[in-house]
Each structure stands twice: as structure tokens, then as C-alpha cells.
């Protein structure tokens, strides 16, 4: 499913090149759930960004379902993301101008799906927000916003779901509820799950954990 070889990321910093990822090689199989863990600054988010095609690597390759992300330009990667990838972010990243329903409809509209509204409503009901569809993000609590984000992520039936600290901005109880929902949906939809977290409990619920230390992979 995901194959990455000798993935490197260096950025210029104060006249020097700062090495954030030092040649990562890994493979994630279809349907697998994988947690990327590590201390702050170890390169977790950078790795996630590269695996999801949000950023370009300095060297190395990422293949998803046989497609070389490095060979695509930004628009090509955008189309690829729209078709195969879903996201859940620490800060929810809902569009404040759109209602909960419209936020969930957005990726479906972008890909030209039909029956966009029905599908979006279905997923919002699935995350127990059937009564709050016409609310704007600012009218929703943090947990509710993250549930809208989950509905949005799963509505387009992505092959892979990337989650970046999905409970980072939530209290423990709400966080647990979100995680339960995330894993339930993941199971139902048969999605491959890659999540970045500090939370050992959350990481333990994944089938496999990859630990990053100063930009290098340490197998757990």
C-alpha cells in the first residue's frame, strides 16, 4: 500500500541544512493501522506530510498503491489526495465559513461525486451529529468539531486515513470517544490508518508502532 524508501528531508536553517528526516524506509500494508510516535521535533509530522503528499521530499521515494508521489506535481498530488487520502488534524481544520454539513460535503464536491448531500448526512449521523448539521464550526465544541472532521475524512471513502494528533486539542474523555469512533469507522470502512501521536494509549491501539528519534526510524 505505502512504500517509502530512503526518505530524506532537509531544510535550510541559518545558513546550514537542517536534516529533519534521515533516510526513512518503511512499508505499510493495506488495512493496517500504524502509529508514528516520538518526541517533539523528532520529525513525526514531517514524515506524515511526506507520506500524505502534502510536502516534497529532498530525496527518496514514496509510493502509494504503486503511484510515485514524487513524480506528481502539486496539482497531481492534490487530485491523488482527493481520491485516496483522508485527514484528521489536531486543530480540526474545518472551514469556518461552511456549516458542518457543507464541510463534510466539500471533499465530495471537489471530486464531483453524486448524491453528495445524502452521503454527507449519512456520515454526520454516523458520528452522532445528525441534529447539528446546520451549525457552523464556531458553534460546536472541540469534540463535536473533531467528529465533523472524522465524518469529512471518511465520507470520501479514502483508502488511507492520516491522523495528526487527533486528540491533541481535546480533554481525555472526549479524546477517548473520538478514538473509539475513529477505530470503529476504520474497521467498518477497511481503511488503512496512519496516525501521529504522543499518546502511548492511543498508539497501543494500533497494530504497529514506528518510533522516530531525531529523524531516524527506531523499530518498536
Amino acid at each position: 500500500m505505502i512504500n517509502c524508501e530512503n526518505l530524506q528531508k532537509r531544510v535550510p536553517m541559518a545558513g546550514n541544512l537542517l536534516e529533519i528526516l534521515k533516510g526513512i524506509t518503511l512499508e505499510i500494508k493495506s488495512g493496517e493501522s500504524v502509529a508514528i510516535i516520538g518526541a517533539s521535533g523528532s520529525g513525526k509530522s514531517t514524515l506524515l506530510g511526506l507520506l500524505a503528499g502534502l510536502d516534497e521530499a529532498t530525496a527518496g521515494t514514496v509510493h502509494i498503491n504503486g503511484t510515485d508521489l514524487g513524480a506528481l506535481d502539486e496539482d497531481g498530488r492534490a487530485r491523488f489526495r482527493g481520491r485516496y487520502i483522508g485527514f484528521v488534524f489536531q486543530s480540526f481544520q474545518l472551514l469556518p465559513a461552511l456549516t458542518a454539513l457543507e464541510n463534510v460535503m466539500l471533499p465530495l464536491e471537489l471530486q464531483g461525486h453524486s448524491k453528495v448531500k445524502e452521503q454527507a448526512e449519512h456520515y454526520l449521523r454516523r458520528v452522532e451529529l445528525g441534529a447539528r448539521m446546520s451549525h457552523y464550526p464556531l458553534q460546536l465544541s472541540g469534540g463535536e468539531q473533531q467528529r465533523v472532521a472524522l465524518a469529512r475524512a471518511f465520507a470520501s471513502k479514502p483508502a488511507i486515513l492520516f491522523a495528526d494528533e487527533p486528540t491533541g486539542n481535546l480533554d481525555t474523555r472526549t479524546g477517548e470517544h473520538i478514538i473509539d469512533l475513529l477505530f470503529e469507522l476504520n474497521r467498518e470502512e477497511g481503511t488503512t490508518l496512519v496516525l501521529v501521536t504522543h499518546d502511548q494509549v492511543l498508539a497501543d491501539r494500533c497494530q504497529r508502532r514506528l518510533r522516530l528519534d531525531s529523524g531516524a526510524l527506531v523499530q518498536e
Binding site: 492534490a78 491523488f80 481520491r83 487520502i85 465559513a97 461552511l98
Partner: protein
């Protein structure tokens, strides 16, 4: 996608994000189309106004009968027609009363343009006439009544025919210069001419055919007629002289165009600033949409369609505003305008819409277009820098757009360049100076208290951004100052030109023997008057011994012409020498002084020799000087002045001008009884009209100023808003760290007020420079430095920007720091 675009717009509108952008566009379109419609309609009124002096749009005249075949040709082109015949003749009444009169016979439709007036008794209330006298009737000049000892209803004789005196003839639109040379007017019907038997072949007469109609029809007729004109036949389509109202309005027009051009620049800057901020605040949106699979094409389509939608709404609103503005102008005006303004057509609104489109394309689109390049990685890392580097191309594009718009709009390169030069000074010098001043501020601030240190370090930290902001503020303040200055001096100049006691009547044709008696009469009646000037009618025949062409064709400036001379040993009060020297009093040299425009038309310079014919006597004189006149002064003005001794032997009449209050008009009746041969020309009605129009134009100008002030304020608001986000963020952190309200607000106040102070200073310098250029090079007014704008510019900059800054950032102390930090 359009659903998303409209949703996004609606939401942004509610959030106040789009307010400045839309308002700037609406104002730009409104001001531009409103002023343009106003000036177009005013122009059409002015053209009509000048045609009024012809009583038609097009006049053909000749000393011999004009071909009748021309009339059906004009008719076929849809032109209205009228005929007139002018000739001098003796008029008789009763047993022995008679007078030489200047007779004008007119057909039913005369005048085609302008207004014919009459009164039911001599010097009575002036009434508009629908048509001239009917068959068998005449209207007499007021002063003919005492001369002929007749009253309305009596009979008079012209040649072999008798006529009933039906009214007093008061004014004709095409009185023109004819009444300087002929006797008092008698108006009669054209068809009565044969009955009089006075017009015979060889009589001294002037035949006129008058035409009026649409511009294309007139042009086509003119093209057809011109080749057929023979010697002695002339066609006139525009009055040569500028009517008094015309020049006041023309200057008002260039002021309004200047105001409109500035509005375009101000609106452009406001749109650019607002769009830039809009784009910065939408970076995160775009990053999210991109992470969800939107391509750059999709993003461009989304923002492009939003912009188009926004532009359309703003254009419609702006056009409505523009229409309302010009309607309001004419509401102020309508009753005072001597003619009905024509329609403005669609061009003003097309200009408005193009302005909106240009503003959107050149100012709003560049920052929005870069949104498509936003990195989707921002969904993971909000600390990524924004893609908002302004390419040099954007500035060039903006500048080009402003230049083309201003030129297209004003059709005046000088005006465009004067404003651009002012802007360039404000921008170029301003940026450097602002950087230096802000650095200096930092050094002083180091030793100051903590509020000052906070504020000045803020200024220093964002040095380049602040310098840019100072330049933008300075440009807005500069333009407002320019308008204020030009407006003030314009209105002052008008009022100085027409003081309340300016002469409003002319007295011409005064015999030398009557001068002393009339002087004494005026003094006894306490009527203020100008000196009495001798007046000699003559014809300019040759320059440096070369005969001038004698054709009466109007297109030819350099030709023989009839004009009035006077003699004087001193330069008249408001005349100004522009070349040569005034002669020594008592000189017996053959010298002459010419009016500037007259000399230019005939291509005469100081030192040239000019030949005249006075009566039948030739006279030669060398040009000693060239003078500039104040044509609007309502004092006697002369194209040619010669030394008294040179003209002593020629027959002269005298003229003067005097001021008569409205209540004293009855004096004229008594005066004409005592001095029946003197002609009195009443200018009081025209003068009153000019004065009223000047007042109305001033009101219109003030109205425009208010609208431009709003555009300027918008730039200031947009400019402040542009920097609010960064300052809010810092202030929220400071507040979270426990800084008191006073410290934060005080710091912000000092920071913005300092920016305002520098901006005000720069603006004042640049405004003085632009006003100097505008007044001396474009509007041909006298420039005088204006010390009062210095404190005004600097103070208003400091206070307004300081207050706006603190007002825009007030949220930082009224809401919790967490909320502020989250929202940013």
C-alpha cells in the same frame, strides 16, 4: 463550486472581511461614473450654451442673398431652420420723430437655440418669448421709445410699411458684437421685408440661415455645404469667444476630473490593501481545501468567481451611487443652468465598470492568485510563511493600471502626470525617509519609559512594512490635502473675480460732449463707475506691410478684422504686461499695445508694424507691448490701446461700466430719456447667473470632496487593518504575560500615532508640490504657499491614524488573550 464561492463570500461578508473591499469598489465606481456623467452632461450644457450665442448650432451668413436650395437639403437631413436678415434703416414715428435703427427681421422659428426676451414696457420685467414679432408688428429697443416718443400700441414706419409697436425688445441670443456698431434694435417679421421696400440690391445687409439639429446631421450638412461656400459666405458652428460661465465651469470640470482621478487611485490602493489582507486570512482555508484534493485550478476558479461576483455586485451598486451623485448635482443646479443638460449616455457607467474591473484585475487579483500556491502543509504546520511576496510585477501592473485609468478618465496627460509625480515623490522619497525616521525613533526610544520602548521597538521591528504603511497613509492624506487646497483656492478665486459690487452695466456710444454730464450724473446718483474710455472702431489690415487675407472664413484666425481701439497713457488697472514695455506718457510715437490672444491669433510680436483703417483713414503703428486681460472683470477691455496723441484726430465715442443695484433699475429710464443716443447694456442678469452657478458648482465640489474623503478614510482603515493582525498577535501574547491594558493600548497608540505623524509630514510636502504643479501647469491659476496645511496635515495624520489604530485593535484588551490567539 459556485455554491462554495457564494457561501464563502456570504460568510466573509458577515465576518466583515469584505466590507472594505466592496466599499472601496463601490466608491470607486460611484465617484468615477458620477463625476463622469456629471461632466459629460455639463459639457453638453456648455456646448449648448455656446450655441445659444449663435441662436443656432450652425449659421451661414453673407452680404448677398443665400441660395434657397440649401434649405431643403438641410430639411432632408432633419435640421430645423430659421432665417434672419439684418440691416440698418431709418425708423419714423409721428410727424418728425426718427432714428437710425439696427433692424433684424426673423422668421417664426427664430431663435433655434437660446432665448429671445421682451418686456411689455421699456426696461420693464424681462419675459421669455416663444417667437419674435408677428406679421405687421415690431419690438423696439427700450431706448427707442423716448427717441421716437412712442409707447406700446403706437405705430411706426419703416420704409413704405407701417407697424404696430407690440413690445420692448430686450435680449436676443445672438446679439453678439453687432450692437457695438449699429443703432438700437428693431425686431420685425421676416415676411414683412418686401412690404418695406428698403432692401434693394446693393443695400448694406446681412443674410443669415440658421440651422439646429443632431450632431451627426449637422456634421453631414456641414460637409455637404462647406465646398459650396463662395467668397463672402461664411459658416460658423461654434462661438469663438468663451462665455463667462464657460470658463468657471471648465475649471470646475478639471477639478472634478482631478477628484475623480484621485478617487480611482485611492480606491485602487484600498482594494489592493483589502485584497491582500483577505488573501492572507484565506491561506489556511486554501491549505485545507488543497489537503482535501483541490487543485490550483479549482482554487483559482473559486476565488476568481468570488471576485467576479463581488465585482458585479459592487459595480451595480457603484453605478447606482454614481447615478444618484450626478442626479444630486443637477438637482442642485438645474434651475440655474441656462440650458437643459443633455443625457450622459452609457459611457460614464462603462468607465465605472471598467474601473471596477481594472481594480479587481490589477489590484485584487494578484494577491488572490497567489493563494493557489499556498502550501497544503500549513494544515500540519501553521508556522509556515505565507505566500505573499509581492512580485515587482504587481507594482508595475498597479502603476500602469492607475496611469491608464487616470488618463482615460481625465483625457489629460498633464493632470495625470502631475498627480503621478506627487505620488512618486510621496512613495519614493517617503519610503526612504520613513525608514530613516523610524530608525531615528528607535534610538530616541531606547532611553524612554516602557510604553515608548514597546511602541518604538514595534515600529523598528517591522521597519520595512511600517515604511510602506507610512507611504500608503501619506498618499491618502496627500490626495485629500491636494483636493482641499485646490478647492479652496478655486472657490476663493471665483469669488474674488466677481465681487458683489462688480460693474454690471456697460454704457457705450457716449458722445464726447456727453462725457462730463454723464460723469456728473453718476456721481450725483452715487453710482460707482469705471473710468470713461474712448472707443474707436477700426479694421486691422496688414502686418509688417503684408496685407492680411480678407476672407470671412472663421477657420482662418489670421485675417483682417474689425475691432475697437482705445487710447491711454497708462496701463489699465487689471491689465498685465507680458511682453514689451509701456510707453512714456505724452509720447507722439506711433505705438500700439495688443491683447495676448489677439496677438497670438494674428501671429504678431513686439516690434512688428501693424496697419489699420479707421473710417477711411489709414494708420500704422509699431507693437510696443502685449497685455494679458481679465475678461471676467466686467470692466471695459480692449484688444488694442494706442497713445492718446496718435488717435486725437480720429472721431471717438466713449464707454464705461458701472454697478447698479437691482432696486435702482428705474435710473435707466430717466437716463435714456436724458441721453437717448447712449446704449446701455444690461449684464446684471448674466452676472447673477454666473454667480449662482459658481455657488452651485462650489456646492457640487464640496459634495465630491466629502465622497473622496470617504475614499481616503477607507484607505486609512484598510491600511490600519492590514497591520492589525500582527499587532494583535503580539499584544495578545503580552497580555497573556500580564501586561496591563494601559501599557498595551498606550503602546499601540504611540505606534500608530508615530506612523500617522510621519505620514502627515510626508503628505504635506508632497501635497504642496503637487498643488504647485497642478495650479501653475494644469489649471493655470496662481500658486501661493499655504502654511495652514502644515499643522493640519501633520496633526490630522497623527490623530486619525492613532485613533483608527487603537480602535481597530481594541479587541485585544476587551477579549481574552486565548480567544485572540485562537482566532488569528
Amino acid at each position: 463550486m459556485s455554491m462554495t464561492a457564494t457561501r464563502m463570500l456570504a460568510r466573509d461578508w458577515r465576518g466583515g472581511e469584505l466590507g472594505v473591499l466592496v466599499l472601496a469598489l463601490v466608491l470607486a465606481v460611484g465617484v468615477v461614473s458620477g463625476i463622469s456623467a456629471f461632466t459629460t452632461r455639463l459639457q453638453s450644457a456648455l456646448v449648448q450654451e455656446s450655441h445659444r450665442f449663435l441662436a443656432a448650432d450652425y449659421v451661414v451668413s453673407s452680404g448677398r442673398a443665400l441660395p434657397q436650395e440649401w434649405l431643403p437639403e438641410a430639411e432632408a437631413r432633419g435640421l430645423q431652420q430659421a432665417l434672419a436678415l439684418l440691416f440698418p434703416s431709418m425708423v419714423y414715428a409721428g410727424e418728425d420723430a426718427m432714428s437710425l435703427a439696427s433692424i433684424k427681421a426673423v422668421s417664426e422659428h427664430y431663435p433655434l437655440r437660446g432665448e429671445l426676451t421682451y418686456s411689455t414696457e421699456p426696461f420693464g420685467e424681462i419675459l421669455p418669448a416663444r417667437a419674435g414679432p408677428g406679421r405687421g408688428e415690431v419690438w423696439l429697443d427700450s431706448r427707442l421709445f423716448p427717441l421716437l416718443q412712442v409707447a406700446v400700441g403706437d405705430r411706426i414706419t419703416i420704409g413704405e410699411a407701417d407697424f404696430v409697436v407690440a413690445a420692448a425688445a430686450r435680449t436676443e441670443p445672438d446679439q453678439g458684437s453687432s450692437f457695438w456698431s449699429f443703432g438700437p434694435r428693431v425686431l420685425m417679421h421676416y415676411d414683412d421685408i418686401p412690404a418695406t421696400g428698403v432692401v434693394q440690391p446693393g443695400s448694406r445687409v446681412e443674410y443669415r440661415q440658421l440651422y439646429a439639429g443632431s450632431q451627426p446631421a449637422l456634421e453631414s450638412f456641414g460637409r455637404w455645404l462647406q465646398p459650396q461656400l463662395q467668397d463672402g459666405q461664411s459658416a460658423v458652428n461654434v462661438d469663438e469667444g468663451q462665455p463667462g460661465i464657460g470658463s468657471a465651469l471648465a475649471r470646475a470640470e478639471s477639478f472634478l476630473l482631478l477628484a475623480g482621478s484621485l478617487a480611482v487611485v485611492l480606491a485602487g490602493v484600498a482594494v489592493a490593501l483589502a485584497a491582500r489582507r483577505f488573501s492572507e486570512r484565506h491561506h489556511d482555508y486554501v491549505a485545507i481545501i488543497k489537503s482535501l484534493g483541490a487543485t490550483s485550478k479549482t482554487i483559482n476558479r473559486l476565488y476568481g468567481s468570488s471576485l467576479l461576483l463581488l465585482g458585479s455586485v459592487a459595480t451595480v451598486l457603484g453605478c447606482v451611487l454614481g447615478w444618484a451623485l450626478q442626479a444630486l448635482f443637477f438637482q442642485l443646479f438645474a434651475e440655474q443652468l441656462p440650458v437643459q443638460p443633455g443625457p450622459s449616455g452609457m459611457r460614464p457607467y462603462a468607465i465605472g465598470a471598467t474601473t471596477a474591473l481594472t481594480c479587481l484585475l490589477c489590484f485584487a487579483w494578484p494577491p488572490l492568485r497567489r493563494l493557489a500556491q499556498a502550501s497544503p502543509l500549513r494544515v500540519l504546520r501553521r508556522d509556515l510563511p505565507l505566500e505573499n511576496r509581492r512580485a515587482i510585477g504587481d507594482y508595475v501592473l498597479g502603476l500602469l493600471a492607475v496611469t491608464v485609468l487616470m488618463w482615460w478618465y481625465s483625457q489629460d496627460w498633464k493632470l495625470t502626470l502631475a498627480v503621478l509625480a506627487g505620488l512618486a515623490v510621496a512613495a519614493g522619497l517617503g519610503f526612504c525617509l520613513a525608514l530613516v525616521l523610524l530608525r531615528g525613533g528607535r534610538l530616541v526610544g531606547m532611553s524612554a519609559g516602557s510604553i515608548w520602548r514597546l511602541a518604538l521597538s514595534g515600529l523598528q521591528r517591522r521597519g520595512a512594512a511600517n515604511a510602506l504603511q507610512v507611504v500608503i497613509f501619506a498618499m491618502a492624506i496627500m490626495m485629500l490635502l491636494i483636493l482641499l487646497l485646490v478647492r479652496t483656492s478655486l472657490i476663493d478665486e471665483w469669488q474674488a473675480q466677481l465681487p458683489a459690487d462688480a460693474p454690471n452695466h456697460f454704457m457705450v456710444n457716449i458722445g464726447p460732449e456727453d462725457v462730463t454730464a454723464i460723469e456728473e450724473l453718476l456721481r450725483a446718483e452715487a453710482i460707482p463707475s469705471e473710468p470713461f474710455y474712448p472707443m474707436i472702431r477700426g479694421r486691422i489690415m496688414s502686418v509688417n506691410g503684408q496685407e492680411l487675407p480678407a476672407t470671412e472664413k472663421v477657420q482662418e484666425d489670421r485675417r483682417q478684422r474689425e475691432t475697437n481701439f482705445t487710447w491711454s497713457d497708462t496701463l489699465p488697472a487689471d491689465n498685465q504686461l507680458v511682453a514689451g514695455q509701456w510707453w512714456a506718457p505724452g509720447t507722439d510715437q506711433a505705438l500700439v499695445s495688443l491683447e495676448q490672444g489677439f496677438a497670438e491669433r494674428l501671429q504678431i510680436e513686439v516690434g512688428d508694424t501693424v496697419g489699420f483703417l479707421v473710417g477711411s483713414q489709414p494708420l500704422e503703428a509699431q507693437v510696443a507691448s502685449i497685455r494679458k486681460l481679465q475678461w471676467q472683470s466686467m470692466r471695459p477691455n480692449f484688444f488694442l490701446i494706442l497713445p492718446p496723441r496718435l488717435l486725437a484726430s480720429y472721431p471717438a465715442t466713449f464707454m464705461t461700466s458701472f454697478h447698479l443695484a437691482a432696486d435702482d433699475k428705474e435710473f435707466l429710464n430717466r437716463f435714456i430719456r436724458d441721453f437717448p443716443t447712449v446704449t446701455v447694456i444690461e449684464m446684471d442678469i448674466v452676472l447673477q447667473q454666473i454667480r449662482t452657478i459658481v455657488n452651485q458648482v462650489s456646492a457640487a465640489i464640496n459634495l465630491v470632496l466629502v465622497v473622496i474623503l470617504a475614499a481616503g478614510a477607507l484607505v486609512l482603515v484598510a491600511g490600519v487593518q492590514a497591520s492589525v493582525d500582527a499587532r494583535m498577535h503580539e499584544s495578545a501574547i503580552l497580555r497573556a504575560l500580564g501586561a496591563p491594558r494601559r501599557l498595551i493600548l498606550g503602546g499601540l497608540l504611540i505606534e500608530f500615532a508615530t506612523l500617522g505623524l510621519f505620514a502627515g509630514l510626508l503628505a504635506t510636502v508632497a501635497a504642496e508640490l503637487s498643488v504647485y504643479m497642478l495650479q501653475s501647469k494644469v489649471m493655470e491659476m496662481n500658486y501661493a504657499p499655504t502654511p495652514w496645511i502644515w499643522p493640519l496635515g501633520v496633526l490630522s495624520g497623527t490623530v486619525i491614524i492613532g485613533a483608527l489604530g487603537v480602535f481597530s485593535c481594541r479587541k485585544v484588551v476587551s477579549t481574552s488573550p486565548l480567544t485572540v490567539l485562537r482566532e488569528l
